[in-house]
Subunit: 219 residues, 2 copies
Amino acid sequence: MSHTDTPSPRTRLVREPQRAVYDRAEAYRILDEAFLCHVGFVADGQPYVIPTSYGRDGDVLYIHGSAASRMLRQLDAGVPVCITVTLLDGLVLARSVFNHSMNYRSVVVLGTATLISDLEGKLRALRLLSEHILPGRWEDSRQPNHKELKATSVLRLPIDEFSAKVRTGPPIDDEEDYAFPTWAGVLPLEMTVGRAINDPRLEPERALPEYLQGYTRKR
Amino acid sequence: MSHTDTPSPRTRLVREPQRAVYDRAEAYRILDEAFLCHVGFVADGQPYVIPTSYGRDGDVLYIHGSAASRMLRQLDAGVPVCITVTLLDGLVLARSVFNHSMNYRSVVVLGTATLISDLEGKLRALRLLSEHILPGRWEDSRQPNHKELKATSVLRLPIDEFSAKVRTGPPIDDEEDYAFPTWAGVLPLEMTVGRAINDPRLEPERALPEYLQGYTRKR
């Protein structure tokens, strides 16, 4: 799985090709650290972009179809989608405005998403989604019943056509700008986890489970 | 500006309408706290979703066109886009898997983006973008020259057709699930700012400017 894929004309990076990453293993590291994606689809010529969570199983992404019911209306044999995942790592402050940038890691997956119709498949995908976001939670929750499974739609997108883009490190200024009298460097940004807040209806003796202590996306 | 807009058929929320916010002031608070958006556009029937930064000036959003050169290829009188901004506030852990959710605030803006062609207009938009991300930085950097301005493309999208969606607070479980023996509540997530990292080529005497100290997106 850790081979380098050849980009298609649609996923070959046009801008800043030096930031391109076509290595599947690196793309998967990004997909595994994040859990929020933005899914794009088209309805009546208008693009829509909807935030939702996802899970990965090998070379397949799963998303909740419920996040995009407009998309599902037109779903028969499948719907062309773009799933984009972005991790923001910092503001990059160069001497020149023009060379300001951001440090980030992003993955774009293009393809045709299809609905999972069988309940077995849905259950498996939902478990993957749940474990992707919070490992251990599935076994510690009341799992979906038949009615809920039927009411849930899950989409499947093979990770065939994809690209990743990564920027790290300090700003790169034009040589003549290094003398410009300003501060330059990186302001790191990170998603951090706060202290868990008990549900007001939680029984007082219920302790925070181990899988929630020290929760982090870092792999 | 703080009036409630009527949703169009395209921005009326289909799923979870109880989370819908059509109030322009609240949408603008979300747009002003974030600075990363995901812009969706269509090329040859395929949707693309690209992360990029943006700025807001009244009822207009500005984005770097360079972030989406595929989009610009087909740009004449304008291109249909969707700009989506998402702030993730927490994982919502219910007793049932089915009622798990996230706390978030998101805005979706639909419309036709047009290129800014005059250099004056570009300069103004770039300044807005810069000040949106980091107030004070523009005056403290080497500002764009004629050549850079010409090489930069900036898109303008009026905030006419939009919707926002907000979820806050504890999980909502089905009544019969409240007795299920598990922890329930919210795990807060937040974007935090790390300690600024000097560019390796920074002069040693250059101190961190005031506008970078205590940088936060909270308004």
